[in-house]
Amino acid sequence: MTHVLSIRDLNVEFTDRGTLTNRPVRGIDLDVSAGEILGLVGETGCGKSLTGLAALGILPRGARRTGQVTIGNDPSQASSEAGGSVAIVFQNPGTAFNPVFTLGRQLSDVLSRHRQISRSEGKAEIIRHLSLVGLPDPERVYRSYPHQLSGGMLQRAMIAMALLRKPRLLILDEPTTALDVTVARQILVLIDELRHKFGFGVLLISHNLGIIRDVCDRVAVLYAGRVIETGTVDAVMNNPRHPYTRGLLGALPAGRTHGQRLTAIPGTVPGNLLSLTGCAFRNRCSHAVTDCSLTDPLLTETGPHQAVACLQEGEL
């Protein structure tokens, strides 16, 4: 299968007046194939969103990316030329749109930036896309301001806006976190349908393992800016090998009833990773041994569909 996204040794560094202050993404390798959904999961501060932004080349001020990001067939090394072949949908549809312009106007801006098209053709194209994402009465949505629509409808419009660019890769950053469960489910179904229909690859960023399990084909678990476990969703969810992945799954209240304790992961994600040696998770890990503070484990295949970065993997 052709890869629509290939990331090799991606690093994101923050500098302050020339001095390196933090490196929140540390050597990530990822591949997304056409028509595939790859889930990126981890706690807040693990580098999920930064990885997505770095893939697009839209990092915040003061951040710098190194490594190779290939979208489609065009290698765009450490630059932001990814352009039309990749689109992103953010978490909060209510704030992602500009409140003072109609949706039609905002979608037109995107379209005219990427394609030479007349105004009437543009409008027809936008309305076609609005109905494509399942919005009833697309003409009315076209004329509406963001506050006139519900969160679920805005997120559909956001996806329509992303589709206007005919992306080969769609990055979804917590696309349903701000939505109700039933609406969230509709959005996930829509994404699933669209990727089959158009064959684009999806990088789905979420902290919700339930969502990852439901819609993704493969998953990469991120901790402190590194992929610590990756594989097919079935392999990783049914047989998690890394203590962190196990911790995340154990923290889920799903299926547990009154009285049973959840296995919370003690401590928090380390903030600054510059002076880190050894495994970043060792201070929160109940399986850590002396070697864990000396050696930074590399991703190693443990099965046909799974790779784990843990020195103690064999002992668990």
Binding site: E43, T44, G134, L135, P136, D137, R140, V141, H147, Q148, L149, S150, G151, G152, M153, D180, V181, T182, V183, A184, R185, Q186, L188, V189, L190, D192, E193, H207, N208, L209, G210, I211, R213, D214, V215, G247, L248, G250, A251, L252, P253, A254, G255, R256, T257, H258, G259, Q260, R261, L262, T263, A264, I265, T268
Partner: protein
Amino acid sequence: MTNVLTLENIVKTFPHQRRVFTAVDNVSLSIKEGTVYGLVGESGSGKSTLARCAMQLMRPTSGRAVFEGHDLGKLEPKALRTIRSRMGMVLQNPVASLNPRMTIGASVAEPLRTHTALKGQALQARINNLLDEVGLGAEHTHRLPHQLSGGQCQRVGIARALATSPRLLILDEPTSALDVSVQAQILNLLQDLQQQKGLTYLLISHDLDVVRYLSDDVAVMKTGKIVESGTAERIFTDPRHDYTRRLLEAAPGHGRPEMADSHTLPTLTTQGND
């Protein structure tokens, strides 16, 4: 078992564009001492409005809220304030619900100054004791909210709610803003506190897994009405109302989404989703 809180035929309406919008439509429920009552429903279903009516932070249009035998609507403001010290509330956004310019110690001291006569060393001792109960060290007393993580801020929120030794805690989406791993810590803490102190909880959440995990009894709300209520066990294993079933099926982690229901689209509203 006695009922700590009973709501009888609560109705709350708001004027809306020269018409009347009914946020809570004739809701009755009672919460037994030492149990957790879960209230689930989507945004706009009236869960939080009902909770505000229960605490008389908002006067219901009609109906009664009875707490420990007192009809809250009939109490004088001073008596209401005394009674209210026996109810605590934990809010959804732990960072926004703390004053950013107040130290953690000062935030926890606030309810103590309002409702108790504690001063000086006794006050400080109580603050340290409360922080300890929610798993925060005394070193946090002089910190500001921005120096704490979201989970730690929620622990402060719980300490504030516990300050006046209430019998009832209203938990309004206590973990929705948190990561799963932090959510697990907070849920464990809430469960421990409830069991140690014999507290009664009214838990409001849109997350069915959270509600199932903590609750003894559950009510499902939709557009201001309770559509189904019963024991948590019964609601989750044998849901009878169509809407409850739909909610359960939509919850993440319950299998691949069905293609078929993607065409049950929301209708176009002109007023957002509230």
